[in-house]
């Protein structure tokens, strides 16, 4: 077995803790995007707690792996993993979305560990592409990871970047697609169908890995496989459940961009403790 059960259990516990922090901070803020934060949690927890080469004490370490969250509205997840890996203290999470806070409603460079702002969708794959090309110029072997939402890839800019990353054979670039099947107005298949999604990325010259985005073993294997692929970028197409981990939020479109009420938040926290 490639990954010990102990490691898997540990990552699952950490992911559960991240979900708890997400609910706490969004509930305190009174607004935010729980659905997509929860659907991406296992993917990003595995990345930060196991894969990413980084140094929270030295966020500008030149050889660090880069992470960028293109679906910026899910920044509560980003903030929680930054806390979990030691970039800043947990109390700060409760200032989310408040005036003067370093934790803005969408990612901003004033947050330690955040390298580029996001929020206007469809631009993060390009940002990651730029980071990937910088590694090539500097002859460094760091990797670049970028998290995208499924609704987000309806933006044309994504496909411009997809074409360019394959053209420039960016094999240090790994995109992660949180394919939870929902966007603000409803199911992606009804709002603007993305299928056949794997074929699209393959046709653009990418190596594709399709996984269950909530199974730690599959996630870790996917990151490992991506590292071995040479001559092309990789996309991990992760099938996920929007609102994963909180029973009454799962597959409920309304929780894309709504904070839980106090009552709902109590109920959610009980499920996550």
């Amino acid at each position: 077995m490639e990954y010990t059960q102990e490691k898997i259990n540990d990552l699952e516990q950490k992911a559960k803790r991240i979900r708890l922090l997400i609910i706490q901070m969004i509930a305190k803020a009174g607004s935010g995007h729980p659905g997509g934060s929860l659907s991406s949690t296992d993917l990003i927890a595995a990345l930060f707690f196991s894969e990413l080469k980084h140094d929270p004490k030295n966020p500008n370490w030149p050889d660090r792996d880069r992470f960028h969250m293109s679906k910026g509205h899910c920044c509560p997840l980003w903030y929680a993993v930054l806390v979990g890996t030691g970039y800043f203290s947990e109390e700060k999470l409760l200032t989310l979305r408040q005036l003067g806070s370093s934790l803005q409603g969408h990612p901003d460079r004033r947050t330690p560990g955040v390298e580029s702002a996001s929020g206007s969708l469809g631009q993060g794959l390009s940002v990651a592409l730029g980071m990937s090309l910088a590694a090539r110029i500097d002859r460094k072997d760091y990797r670049v990871y970028v998290l995208m939402g499924d609704g987000e890839i309806q933006e044309g800019n994504i496909w411009e970047a997809a074409m360019a990353a394959a053209h420039y054979k960016c094999d240090n670039l790994c995109a992660i697609l949180d394919y939870n099947g929902f966007q603000i107005d409803g199911k992606t298949c009804n709002v603007m169908n993305l299928e056949p999604i794997v074929d699209k990325w393959r046709a653009f010259g990418w190596h594709t890995i399709e996984i269950n985005g909530h199974k730690m073993k599959e996630i870790l294997s996917a990151y490992k496989e991506a590292k071995k692929i040479k001559g092309k970028p990789t996309i991990i197409i992760a099938h996920t459940i929007k609102g994963k981990g909180v029973s009454f939020m799962e597959n409920v479109c309304d929780f894309h961009g709504r904070a839980p009420t106090q009552e709902e938040s109590q109920k959610a926290l009980k499920e996550l403790t």
């Binding site: 390009s126 940002v127 592409l129 110029i137 360019a164």
Partner: protein, 311 residues
């Protein structure tokens, strides 16, 4: 006859100069590298040049990623695409992050000529000027283009540098170029003429003709549009009878608006706007178009005379 240079040629050569001394300079283009002259940098430094194809949005946001990794990025395309096609990427991913991305936009203004309205950026200064952190330079000639490019390389943050398509005469005796400080090219207290880009040469001809008619005009080359030199504008407002603004751009939101914003709250004076008046451009040779849109030295001269006659 004064030397005539393509600003784009000077840009390409300056990039090579900078590329030799600064290894962190990276250059991008979107399928226009022969027109914008980034192509000559590509030949010299193939490892630090990336062509993005016809995909300006990707080029802008990827520039941000390169800048996030410590690079100083110069990127080029035509002004119409640089300012309009990828505005959101410029705002949200370059300027909001305050990254070192220097947008050098060529083929700005009506003087693009025969390509017509779709390719004549007449709104780009307005579009770029409203974004926090953005610095803007519209150099008046070839040598000043080199100064502008160097200033962009030396100063942190995003820049928009506006260059034209045709050759422009080199203007002598401009004095030292200082980013953010306008240049007084001729002294005079009857009227002030403030211009940028290729309009400076037109305005200079007008000023020389006005002298023969006993009118002394102060010509100011406002090469830096952001941050704007408020001191020189207010001085002109106080010590002349009015200001004529000349720009190869819509009269809404560009240089004239910048001047008005400074004087209106501090020292209100009459500001005459010479530019494109709420119209699209069209095909024609550059000089024909300047005539059609009333932007030649003859038009400026007449405007100054009329203004003073009616005071």
């Amino acid at each position: 006859m004064a030397e005539q240079l393509y600003q784009r040629d000077v840009y390409g050569k300056t990039l090579i100069e900078l590329g030799k001394i600064n290894k962190d300079i990276v250059v991008l283009d979107a399928d226009l590298s022969s027109s914008t002259r980034t192509g000559i940098f590509a030949k010299e430094f193939p490892d630090r040049f990336f062509n993005f194809g016809v995909a300006e949005q990707n080029m802008m946001a990827a520039a941000a990623g390169l800048a996030a990794s410590g690079k100083t990025v110069f990127l080029s395309t035509f002004a119409i695409f640089a300012s309009g096609r990828a505005w959101d990427q410029v705002r949200n991913t370059i300027c909001y992050n305050n990254f070192n991305v220097k947008i050098v936009a060529t083929h700005a203004g009506i003087s693009v000529g025969p390509d017509g309205a779709s390719h004549q950026a007449l709104e780009d200064i307005a579009l770029m000027r409203v974004i926090p952190n953005m610095n803007i330079i519209a150099p008046c000639d070839g040598p000043q283009t080199a100064e502008a490019i160097k200033a962009a390389a030396e100063n942190k943050g995003p820049f928009y540098i506006r260059l034209g398509r045709p050759k422009v005469p080199t203007l002598e005796n401009k004095g030292e170029f200082k980013f953010g400080k306008a240049q007084v090219l001729t002294e005079g207290n009857d009227i002030a003429i403030i211009a940028c880009g290729i309009m400076v040469a037109e305005a200079l001809k007008a000023v020389e003709n006005l002298v023969n008619k006993g009118i002394k005009a102060r010509l100011i080359n406002m090469h830096t549009l952001r941050p704007i030199d408020t001191e020189i504008i207010l001085n002109a407002a106080r010590t002349t009878r009015g200001i004529i603004v000349c720009e190869e751009h819509t009269t809404i939101g560009g240089l004239a608006s910048s001047i008005d914003e400074v004087v209106s709250g501090n020292y209100p004076t009459k500001v005459i706007r010479m530019g494109i008046k709420n119209r699209f451009g069209q095909s024609g040779e550059p000089l024909e178009l300047l005539k059609e849109y009333n932007l030649t030295n003859v038009d400026i001269e007449k405007s100054a005379e009329d203004f003073l006659a009616n005071r």
